[in-house]
């Protein structure tokens, strides 16, 4: 890299440094050649060390041999000049060509010293911990405020459905629902196949393959259908909501909405939550269907016809199990859409903030899904459903 730079900018030799001690006790640094941003790296630390070695003697930098000096070379000289030393051991530059001296004279070495220290300042540990604690507390407050705002906006939307922007809702439905059909279908079909196959092999040893139908039916309808659909949607749409609203925030589009008198929560969040609540149950039904289909097709290879498979499911699994699974889906939908939108609204500034928001939307969305699913399981156990 440096060799190409030197070859291209070959207007003079590279930078050189010679250190000697004069008879009067002062140290002489003879800088020569080309001092540019690329060449100075070779002499910088050497020069700094040569100055630091003699803390109580005068240092003279002889720059008569410098035939080119740009901002980089000036920075090198400034670094040597800004060192804090007693007056009798001052650092000085002599014989720098006038055109380079005007560059150097733009700066006062002493001020560079002060600002360098300020830049390095760090907070003590206690202050850091306190600062983090305040950040977490603020985050909790905004989440509570968001839940409140969203609930009131949802209640308003239910009482005044004519005020909801249904065009946006249908558009989001297409994004969240229709476009997710292939991936949701594929994953649940494969999950059905895998569960059926994995359980059929050991159960065959006891001649109990037919009960695979009940296993697949129960687990898909009650747990896996709703949960897999919701997790897929958290990754797909939750992240999309966060990124979209986050980018709008970075572009000040949210401010534009606010100043037009349009509440961002009503305008952006409610439409998305409504779309998710409409689409997630339908997607879950689709996932249930394809999961069971996958299981049924697998069992053909274990000599169980599709009809016997379905009859077996019908005998043990009833509408209550389907309802137990479907009852979760609106709650999952609100969680996914709500968390996605909340993270989007919380986006900071800059491009990386949008990425962070999308990540946080997926992570907190999935955690919430699993926790809520656990709560449902406990309630169903208590109610004996």
């Amino acid at each position: 890299m440096t060799s190409t730079a030197a070859a291209v900018d070959a207007a003079g030799p590279a930078a050189t440094l010679a250190v000697s001690d004069a008879a009067d006790g002062s140290r002489l640094l003879r800088l020569a050649g080309r001092l540019d941003t690329y060449s100075i790296a070779a002499v910088w630390s050497q020069a700094r060390a040569a100055v630091a070695q003699v803390p109580d003697r005068r240092v003279v930098i002889d720059a008569s041999g410098v035939d080119y000096c740009d901002g980089g070379g000036v920075a090198l000289l400034l670094d040597l000049l800004r060192q804090e030393r007693p007056a009798q051991a001052a650092v000085s530059v002599r014989a720098l060509k006038p055109e380079f001296k005007t560059l150097l004279d733009q700066f006062d070495p002493a001020t560079l010293r002060a600002s360098a220290e300020e830049h390095a300042a760090r907070l003590p540990a206690v202050a850091e911990i306190g600062r983090e604690a305040v950040t977490v507390a603020r985050d909790i407050v905004t989440q509570i405020a968001f839940i409140g705002e969203t609930s009131s906006a949802l209640w308003y939307a239910i009482r005044h459905p004519q005020h909801v922007r249904w065009k946006d809702v249908w558009y989001t439905c297409e994004q969240v629902g229709v476009n997710a059909l292939p991936i949701v279908g594929l994953i649940s079909f494969l999950i059905g196949i895998i569960i059926a196959f994995q359980s059929a092999v050991p159960m065959q040893q006891y001649g109990a393959e037919i009960f695979v139908a009940d296993l697949v039916g129960l687990s898909i309808l009650r747990e896996l259908g709703p949960l897999m659909t919701a997790i897929l949607l958290a990754g797909r749409s939750g992240a999309a909501f966060a990124a979209e609203i986050g980018t709008m925030k970075v572009n000040e589009e949210l401010n534009a909405l606010t100043t037009m008198g349009l509440d961002p929560v009503r305008f952006l969040v409610i439409t998305r939550i409504l779309a998710a609540v409409l689409m997630v149950p339908l997607l879950t039904l689709f996932a249930n269907m394809l999961g069971i289909l996958g299981g049924a097709l697998t069992m053909i290879s274990f000599n169980i016809p599709v009809l016997s498979f379905l009859r077996e499911i019908d005998s043990l699994v009833d509408i209550k199990d389907l309802a137990a699974g479907m009852a979760k889906t609106p709650v999952f939908a609100i969680l996914i859409a709500g968390v996605g939108c909340l993270r989007g609204l919380q986006t900071g500034t800059g491009a990386s903030a949008v990425g962070i928001s999308a990540t946080r939307a997926v992570v907190s969305g999935i955690i919430l899904l699993v926790v809520v699913d656990g709560i449902y399981a406990f309630i169903y156990y208590l109610l004996d459903i």
Binding site: T37, I40, D70, G71, A75, F107, L112, H119, T349, A353
Partner: protein, 254 residues
């Protein structure tokens, strides 16, 4: 000033897809001058700038920077040309997740072998040149528009390029900030002998900084005037050029 061309644009034709914006244009920029590209909206000013810095591929023609063609250069040769130029984009294009000093340090970290302390000092001197040394630890979003543009100039100067390209430096700035920026451009041109290529249509700032201008026109798809802006205003035969200068000059003097 003796003519010593540092940039030479030769029979450049450019545009988007099938739409030709610039047809067969030729001009040179001399070393150390402040060169302004101006023209009405949509005439291809910014397109021309983006071709000069090698972002877009022209239909045909050459852009020679110090004798080397940025259009055909590849790999290390292209990098070597790019290190000789610095660009300030219209909105600053500072990296929002980095502080000012980190923004300026980025090219230093990638292209030089300097240690941390040296890079910090070097970056700080650049920020000092644009009057932002007190803001080295700030994030770009915490600064005003004018400060962001100055910071973007500091970042463009990180590797001491001999040419700086500025895209609409005074767009969206108040007259005082814009005049401060003009002064900064003149000071850098004088003290550091940097060649400036500026795209703008801010007449006040053109009179303040420009040594030479070219004016582009949408219908002609090329250059309709070239030279000293004050002389063009007073002496040009082209009604379009006179109109451009006079109409806006009237507005500017109110």
């Amino acid at each position: 000033m003796a003519a010593d061309p540092i940039i030479r644009v030769e029979s450049l034709s450019a545009g988007y897809d099938d739409k030709v914006l610039l047809r067969d244009i030729n001009f040179t920029v001399n070393r150390g001058e402040v060169f302004v590209i101006l023209g009405g909206s949509g005439c291809g000013k910014s397109t021309l700038l983006k071709h000069m810095i090698g972002l877009y591929q022209p239909f045909s023609g050459k852009v020679l920077i110090d004798g080397e063609d940025i259009v055909t250069a590849e790999g290390e040769a292209r990098k070597a040309i790019l290190r000789r130029i610095g660009v300030m984009y219209q909105s600053g294009a500072l990296f929002g997740s980095m502080t000012l000093i980190e923004n300026v340090r980025l090219p230093l970290e990638e292209y030089t072998a300097l240690d941390d302390e040296a890079m910090d000092l070097l970056a700080l001197t650049k920020l000092k040149l644009v009057g932002l040394d007190g803001f080295s630890g700030h994030m770009p979003a915490e600064l005003s528009g004018g400060m962001q543009k100055r910071a973007a100039i500091a970042r463009a100067m990180a590797l001491d390029p001999s040419i700086l390209f500025l895209d609409e430096p005074s767009a969206g700035l108040d007259p005082i900030t814009s005049a401060t920026l003009d002064e900064l451009i003149l000071r850098l041109a004088k003290n550091l002998h940097i060649t400036f290529v500026i795209v703008t249509h801010e007449l006040a700032s053109i009179y303040a900084v420009a040594d030479r201008i070219i004016m582009l026109d949408k219908r002609k798809q090329g250059i309709i005037a070239e030279g000293d802006p004050k002389r063009l205003r007073d002496e040009s035969d082209d009604p379009l050029v006179r109109q451009f200068f006079r109409r806006e000059a009237e507005v500017a003097t109110v």
